[in-house]
């Protein structure tokens, strides 16, 4: 695809090395987000973010309304959990999450009313401290998939020299279109949110970065910038090359600013904050209404889904209910993935709740993806060519198998973000991502011994 160019739209500072051209499969790009009716019950795990789990503040039998606090903690790196339907708490206890970990969870049986908590009111925000506090209180975590509590990223002092906010609307994973829909349906909130964050946090520049396979979104956002921020504004839209993993945080920072985040460091160390586009729009809505994070959009797609959709769903709704709302399965599913096909995790069943950070549910029939026989490495070097982190996956795999911790540490495997580009291209069909994970655990084990 040719690069996108239009007046007022920036082009990427660095094109970036590595990466793979994966089929976009954005089948649901024109499916406007539809709201799902109240589910019969929701299950709200107390661990829906990176950081400390929340403690339930309700007990069985309590009546709750939407937006009422049901879980919180005094730890900073955490995000409170709110009731997402109105009804009665029927259980508080341990459940197993999709990744196999055990978490406490609150089950609420819906009364079908979807009544809002009356005490909900817009927060008063006058200083940057107020803003960070408000964002924490909103329960927001990165909506792009990682689930990192957003306020932690924003809680930097004015002395930190952080000058750029990069708004991540790349959406480089195949199939997923929720961020694109966010751009098309809530562009006003996105741009207003950028202005608000700039006002309190003093960014010199705000870059809304979109892959160039979404020209309508680029155009709409440019128009909104003109409308709300004027012509020569600090906000601009940037068209990035559509190449996986363009949306990865470090890639994003490099493409948008030319800065490279060193190994083991964060974007903040090079003066950047990267935020998902839906998170920005949410912050603006929250500051206007005070309604915390109780629902989110997900793309439901894949060859086994009868009618693929973008759905706005109360958090905690069972995946099977969501799939049922999308017409159920038209074919027997072979693989169900939470997230995209490059980095999402395959699920053992659909009887699990939707979490804050889940952006897609994809169900595929057998034969959708080609399966390669696993052969010996032919040292073709394709994995090294595509690695966005400039690693040598095949070499790392070899060291990992022989558990050579010293060599692994030199190999730089700890910067691997498991984007899967290497395994995608490998002609020998090797499970390189698993080898990378093994390599990391070898290093950790060796470190623990020391």
């Amino acid at each position: 695809m040719k690069g996108y160019s239009a007046k007022g739209v920036l082009s990427a500072v660095v094109k970036g090395r590595g990466g793979v051209s994966v089929s976009h499969s954005k089948n649901t790009r024109d499916c406007s987000t539809v709201r799902m009716p109240a589910p019969t019950q929701v299950v709200l795990p107390m661990q829906q973010h990176i950081g400390a789990p929340c403690d339930p503040v309700v007990k069985v039998g309590d009546e709750v309304k939407i937006g009422q606090l049901i879980g919180d903690t005094d730890k900073f790196v955490s995000a409170p959990i709110y009731a997402t339907v109105s009804g009665k708490v029927t259980a508080v206890g341990d459940i197993k999450l999709a990744n196999g970990s055990i978490s406490q969870a609150v089950t609420i049986e819906s009364d079908g009313q979807m009544a809002m908590d009356e005490s909900i009111a817009p927060p008063t925000v006058n200083t940057r401290e107020d803003l960070v506090k408000a964002v924490r209180a909103s329960g927001l975590v990165g909506l792009g998939g990682a689930g990192f509590p957003t306020h932690v990223k924003l809680a930097f002092g004015p002395d930190k020299n952080i000058d750029t906010l990069v708004v991540n609307a790349a959406e480089c994973e195949p199939y997923i279109t929720v961020d694109y829909r966010e751009c098309m349906e809530n562009s006003t909130n996105i741009i207003k949110g950028c202005i608000t964050l700039q006002k309190f946090l003093g960014f010199k520049k705000v870059i809304v970065a979109v892959e160039d396979n979404k020209p309508q979104a680029i155009q709409l956002l440019s128009e909104k910038i003109k409308e709300f921020a004027g012509n020569d504004s600090f906000i601009s839209v940037m068209a990035l090359k559509s190449k996986y993993p363009q949306g990865a945080e470090k890639m994003m920072v490099q493409s948008a600013t030319g800065r490279k985040v060193p190994p083991g460091k964060l974007p903040a160390d090079v003066g950047c904050v990267v935020m998902n586009v839906a998170s920005i729009a949410f912050i603006e809505r929250y500051l206007e209404t005070g309604k915390p994070l109780v629902s989110r959009s997900v793309t439901v797609d894949g060859s086994a889904i009868r009618s693929p959709k973008n759905v706005r769903v109360p958090i905690g709704t069972s995946l099977s209910d969501i799939i049922e709302f999308c017409g159920g399965f038209k074919e027997e599913p072979f693989k169900i993935i939470a997230g995209g096909p490059m980095m999402g995790s395959a699920l053992v069943g659909t009887d699990i709740p939707l979490l804050k950070q889940n952006n897609a549910i994809l169900a595929f029939a057998e034969g959708t993806f080609n399966v390669k026989p696993e052969r010996d490495c032919i040292r073709c070097g394709r994995c090294a060519q595509v690695c966005p982190m400039s690693l040598m996956p095949t070499l790392i795999a070899r060291y990992a198998k022989s558990k050579e911790a010293d060599k692994l540490e030199d190999s730089g495997v700890m910067v691997c973000m498991e984007c899967g580009s290497c395994a995608y291209v490998c002609p020998a069909g090797l499970p390189l991502v698993q080898h990378m994970r093994l390599a990391k655990s070898v290093i950790r084990e060796a470190g623990a011994k020391k």
Binding site: P263, E332, K335, A346, C380, A384, M389, G412, V415, A428
Partner: protein
Amino acid sequence: MSVIKKLTVSASPHVRSPQTSTGIMLDVIIALVPALIASVVIFGYKALLVTVVCVISAVLAEYLSRKVMKRHQTIGDLSAVVTGLLLAFNLPSEIPLWIAALGSVIAIVVVKQMFGGIGQNFVNPAIAARIILLVSFPTAMANWATDSKFVMTSATPLASLKAGEVTEDLPSLLDMFLGRHGGSLGEVCALALLIGGIYLIARKVISPVIPLVFVGTVAAAMFIAGKGDLEFVAYEILSGGLLLGAIFMATDYTTSPVSFKGKIIFAIGCGLITSLIRIFGSLPEGVSFSIILMNIFVPHIEKLTTAKPFGTPKRDKKAEKAAKKEKKEAAKA
């Protein structure tokens, strides 16, 4: 609620590119077909016979050696077919068939399988086998075709070029380009080799770096050796196994560096050694020796040229020097 019987759970990524090892090998085989057709046209059915014997014995050797070593079968990846083809292309059409078959067995069993099979051999199997045959059967390996209606001269052009200038008894440059001269059966037709090379580059099986730098280095060296005689340079490029070696042998994944920088170093090395042997050595040809020598250097080249992980700060040599100085001074004080 829908009932789900069994779901497949595996690690990401869930999508894979359509490219397979077998597909890559098949592309190499396709790229070698023009040269095979040319050799049959030039040297007759014997060229085909030698090729078939090499391929069959290579595949059989791979099958049997894997079986004996109780390892999983790998003949399905077609790499043994490629090795057989490449070895055949490095032999004269008059070679006794048993020597050709022996070459395949050496390539597959000794050079490839004994080091662990595909991806593990440290030198190119076909080249190593060719060199072993060259040393063991020098007469048979230099028995160039004389009865073909296409081949004008029995000596290879390189033997005539050795004197360092273009002489009368050389075939014309056009004959050199089309392959109407003596030589190994796959190396003579430059046109066919170029078609194969362009196909491999277009299919992204190989990068053009190694062939271009390899041939370029030889051209530059010969330009100096021939005192600026461009005709001499052209003869040097078109004769011997240079194009076959640069396009098909030096680009072997297993025995060439992965990084761009490494490829350049490797190819310059190949070109220099080839030129030195051709200019100063007593052998007429140096491509095989240059590639095998550089193959041995590959692990070291890799070590020197491996990219640093993304974002690794550049070494600040000035600061390092200053720090050292300070330390020294501190020690003095």
